[in-house]
Structures are given as structure tokens and as C-alpha cells.
């Protein structure tokens, strides 16, 4: 009996350590691959210049157009997504009755939307675009990516607001607060969760290629208005990696490195702000 339990315990412990090593190992391998191939091409030019003529066959320039384009799209989509998902989440949690029919349907909808692959959003965005006679543009890209991130934002924020104790609303109502004033308290309470949601959404938005493939277009210049097409980092990686020229392929890894770095910075700053802003959280 004792021996069997010891072996059992040892076996599962080994399994857990192994699983952890695989995950940590994969992350290191990914970082190593993009760093070793991309580092040599990661010059100041890559970050600070737009492609010059012949860039895609190995001549000078950089991918500033894609960096800026990706930032525009992911920031735009996250802001727009927040503006849509926060009211929905507040409605479901504060305005609708607890576990009401409408609230449950809304949550189910988000679960389904969450599972839809991004290429489907891309195709949907493309159809809408064609229907309205829009061309591939920054605006169309932002709208399509917004569709992609709304379920991410809404689910994550809903999760934290639901976790807030119901007695908190009893307390505000007892003080004579309206539902809107109560909503504000819940948002305050949920700040760390909202920041995590923003981070998730931003990471997904900046890294997704399929949604922007048909909708944002691709161009060598930095867009100056919402109606212009824009390059994005995932597509910059895709196009360069498909090149037979090694130098261009390496630039794809440099672009991947930049993308990873941006996500890393966002993660770390989100953690920092989340700590600062949640000092009053109960």
C-alpha cells in the first residue's frame, strides 16, 4: 500500500515536471530560433525605415510601415472592442437580473464567438467590405480585428466582474447608489482584470494574420488616414518568409523578434500598471 502510493505520487510528480519542461523548453526554443536567425538582420534600418524599392529581394529599407500599421490596428481594435464589450458586460452583470435568460444567451454567444477561427472573421470582414464597397484599408482592418477581440475582452472582463462579491452591490445599493453608480464601483474593482483583458486582446490583435489578410491590405508606406491600406507585422513575416532569398527570410525573423518584443513590453507594463491601479481592490 505505502509503496504503491509512493510510486503513484512519484510518477505524477515526474509527469508534471516533464510537462513544465516541455512548455518552458518550447518557449526557449522559439526565442532562440527567432533570435539566432533574426538578430543579424535586426538593424536600426529595419525598425526606422519603410521598405525601399527592391526591399523584398534583399535591398535596403525596413518594416516601420508594418510596425506602425500593426500598432494602429491592435490599439484601434482594442479601444473599439473595450467600448463595445464593457457596456455589454455591465448590462449582463449589473442591469440584467442574475442568471437571466438574456444574460445566459449573451454569455453563450461570446463563448461561441470566442471559438470561431480568425480566418472566418477575416472572410466575414471581407464580405462586409465588399458589400459596402470599401477597399482593404486601416479602417476595415480595425473593424475586423475588433470583431475578433470583442469576445476575448467581454469574456475576460465578465469573468472578473462576476467574481466580485454580490455584497459589494448590496453595499452600494444600500447607500442609495443607482445601477450606473454601482457599475462604476464594479469597474474599479475589476481594474486588474480589465488590464489583463486588454493585454490578451492586444496580443491577439497584433499577432493575428488571418483577419488582416483580406481586410487591411499591404503597402510599403505608413497609412495617413483610415481609408488607406496598411502593412502589418504578421503579414510582413509571412511575405518575407516565403521568399527564396536567405537575407529576406532572416528579415522575417527580425520582424518576428520585433513582434515578440512589442508583446513583451505590453505584458510587463500591464503587470506594472495593474499592480499600481489595484491598490484599493478589496
Amino acid at each position: 500500500m505505502q509503496l504503491r502510493r509512493r510510486i503513484e505520487s512519484g510518477f505524477f510528480k515526474t509527469l508534471m515536471i516533464l510537462a513544465t519542461l516541455i512548455i518552458a523548453g518550447s518557449l526557449l526554443m522559439i526565442l532562440y530560433t527567432i533570435a539566432s536567425k533574426g538578430m543579424q538582420s535586426l538593424t536600426w534600418d529595419i525598425i526606422s525605415k519603410v521598405p525601399e524599392g527592391g526591399y523584398y529581394i534583399g535591398k535596403g529599407g525596413g518594416i516601420l510601415n508594418a510596425i506602425i500599421g500593426s500598432l494602429y490596428i491592435s490599439i484601434g481594435a482594442t479601444v473599439l472592442g473595450l467600448a463595445i464589450s464593457i457596456p455589454i458586460v455591465l448590462y449582463v452583470n449589473i442591469y440584467a437580473k442574475r442568471n437571466s435568460w438574456l444574460a445566459n444567451i449573451t454569455r453563450l454567444t461570446f463563448d461561441v464567438l470566442f471559438g470561431i477561427p480568425s480566418i472566418v472573421y477575416g472572410a466575414f470582414g471581407f464580405t462586409i467590405m465588399v458589400y459596402f464597397g470599401l477597399r482593404a484599408s486601416l479602417l476595415a482592418g480595425i473593424i475586423t480585428v475588433t470583431l475578433l477581440v470583442i469576445p476575448i475582452l467581454a469574456r475576460a472582463i465578465d469573468e472578473v466582474i462576476r467574481l466580485a462579491p454580490t455584497e459589494l452591490s448590496d453595499a452600494t445599493y444600500a447607500l442609495g447608489a443607482t445601477r450606473w453608480e454601482t457599475s462604476l464601483i464594479f469597474l474599479r474593482q475589476a481594474i486588474p482584470g480589465i488590464i489583463t483583458a486588454i493585454l490578451l486582446s492586444f496580443g491577439r490583435a497584433i499577432g493575428d494574420a488571418a483577419t488582416v489578410l483580406f481586410t487591411a491590405g499591404y503597402t510599403d508606406s505608413i497609412p495617413t488616414s483610415l481609408g488607406q491600406p496598411t502593412a502589418t507585422l504578421p503579414l510582413a513575416i509571412f511575405f518575407q518568409l516565403s521568399s527564396p532569398i536567405e537575407e529576406v527570410q532572416n528579415r522575417a525573423y527580425a520582424a518576428a523578434l520585433i513582434l515578440t518584443f512589442i508583446v513583451l513590453i505590453i505584458s510587463l507594463s500591464a503587470k506594472y500598471f495593474s499592480k499600481k491601479l489595484s491598490k484599493h481592490k478589496i
Binding site: 445599493y173 442609495g176 478589496i282
Partner: protein
């Protein structure tokens, strides 16, 4: 037992939650500026009854409330009632303290701000007044801008009481307000309740008989959603008429 001009009068109140009959034909008068306790075993409906007084049950679905709750003679389940201002008349102290996610100062100032006091000077006075009234001022005066979440749980409960008092209620509802507290904090809350009796009508839900005895003027004993007996503290605890009350008070049922 009835009173001439009760602060709260409950008439033929029935509450169903999800098909269960939680409160059955409740009729009770809560006297003005006295402390009335609801006692009874877990699940007897005492908290539900308390929550019908400021309409906190409304938010749940499948809740059906029939009958009347008259506060100062006005039915709070009436058509024209404005729930927000009605609730403001009643402070609520829950089982565990729930400070708002903000500073100590802002917790107290929250209610007055909602209701139109915005001048810093007036708020300063209010904050000091209510923190003093709940014995917190000396403990927290140097960290008013610190987070309320950092206070001990006993301090948090007194903060919640101060926060409730700051909207100038007439009635204070306590839902087992000391059940999460240590003995010393409990004693402080109890002392506050005894002081508050002069100015406010207090309704307390408790499962601690000794606490009910120390604090209450009147006690209602609830069992399975019904009020079994209601009367002055001594009568209920020492000379109960009903057999169920006798058994509960002696500890045979709980």
C-alpha cells in the same frame, strides 16, 4: 404584538424564491428607535426578511414578493416608490465587511457625494464626524488616503457602519454583522449598536442568543419561514409561550 406607530410594518408578506416558499404570511411591526432582533436557525428566512426591507432581493430572478412593507406608513413595494432614495433611508451592515475599492476617506465620502455633497470642506467634516462616531478616527486619521482594504476586518466593519451612517439613514439593518469578527471587534460593534439605539431604528439578524439578549429590546423568533413568536427580549428568552421557541432558546433545536 403590534405598535401604534411602528417604523416598519410588514403586512401579509410572502416571498417565493424559485418555487420555494421562503417567507410565509409575515406580519410584524418594527418599533421606532428600538433594537429588534430576528433569531432562528439557519435557513429560517431571517436574512431574507431583512433584505425585503430595502428591496435587495429585487435583483434576483425567480423572486416573487407579495404583501406590503410599510416604512413610515408608505409601502416600499408600491408603484410610485423610488427605490434609490428609499434605500438611502436604511443602512446595511452585512455578514462580512465590504469596503468599496477606494481609500478610507472616499469610502465615507462616497454616499454623501452621490447625494450632492461635493465641497471638500463639508466632506472633511462628515468624514471626521462619522469616523469618530464609530471609534475609528484615532486609528485611521493618519492614513485617510490609504486603502480601506488594508484595515483589519473589525475596522472594516466599523468603516462600513460609518459609511452607512454618512448617508443619514433612519434605519440600520444588520445581517449577522459580527459573525466574521473576533471577540474584541464584536464587542466594539455591539457597543456601537447600543449607542445608536437612541437615534436609529435597528434591526439585527443574529444566531447568537446571548448577543440578541445583550442588545435587543424586542426579539422575533423565526422558524421555517414563519414568525413563531415576537415580543420583548425577556419574554422571548425567559418566558417563551410557544413550544418551538422554548426548544430553540433551550438549545434543543438549532
Amino acid at each position: 404584538m403590534t405598535f401604534e406607530s411602528p417604523h416598519i410594518r410588514v403586512k401579509d408578506l410572502n416571498v417565493h424564491i424559485g418555487g420555494n416558499h421562503i417567507l410565509k404570511n409575515i406580519n410584524i411591526d418594527i418599533p421606532d428607535k428600538k433594537l429588534t432582533s430576528f433569531i432562528g436557525p439557519s435557513g429560517c428566512g431571517k436574512t431574507t426578511l431583512l433584505k425585503t426591507f430595502n428591496r435587495l432581493l429585487d435583483r434576483n430572478k425567480d423572486v416573487q414578493i407579495d404583501g406590503q412593507v410599510l416604512v413610515d406608513g408608505e409601502n416600499i413595494y408600491g408603484k410610485d416608490i423610488e427605490v434609490t432614495s428609499m434605500r438611502q433611508k436604511m443602512g446595511l451592515l452585512s455578514q462580512r465587511p465590504f469596503p468599496l475599492p477606494m481609500s478610507i476617506y472616499d469610502n465615507i465620502a462616497y454616499g454623501p457625494r452621490l447625494h450632492g455633497t461635493i465641497k471638500k470642506k463639508e466632506l472633511d467634516i462628515l468624514v471626521e464626524h462619522y469616523l469618530t462616531a464609530t471609534g475609528l478616527w484615532d486609528e485611521v486619521k493618519d492614513r485617510l488616503n490609504g486603502s480601506a482594504a488594508r484595515l483589519s476586518i473589525g475596522q472594516q466593519q466599523r468603516l462600513c457602519l460609518a459609511r452607512g451612517l454618512a448617508v443619514e439613514p433612519e434605519i440600520i439593518l444588520g445581517d449577522e454583522p459580527t459573525s466574521a469578527l473576533d471577540p474584541i471587534s464584536t464587542q466594539k460593534i455591539e457597543e456601537l449598536f447600543l449607542q445608536l439605539k437612541d437615534k436609529y431604528t435597528l434591526v439585527l439578524v443574529t444566531h447568537i442568543l446571548r448577543q440578541a439578549r445583550r442588545l435587543s429590546d424586542y426579539i422575533a423568533f423565526l422558524y421555517m419561514g414563519e414568525i413563531i413568536e415576537f415580543g420583548p427580549t425577556e419574554d422571548i428568552l425567559l418566558r417563551p409561550k410557544e413550544k418551538l421557541t422554548q426548544e430553540y432558546v433551550k438549545g434543543y433545536i438549532s
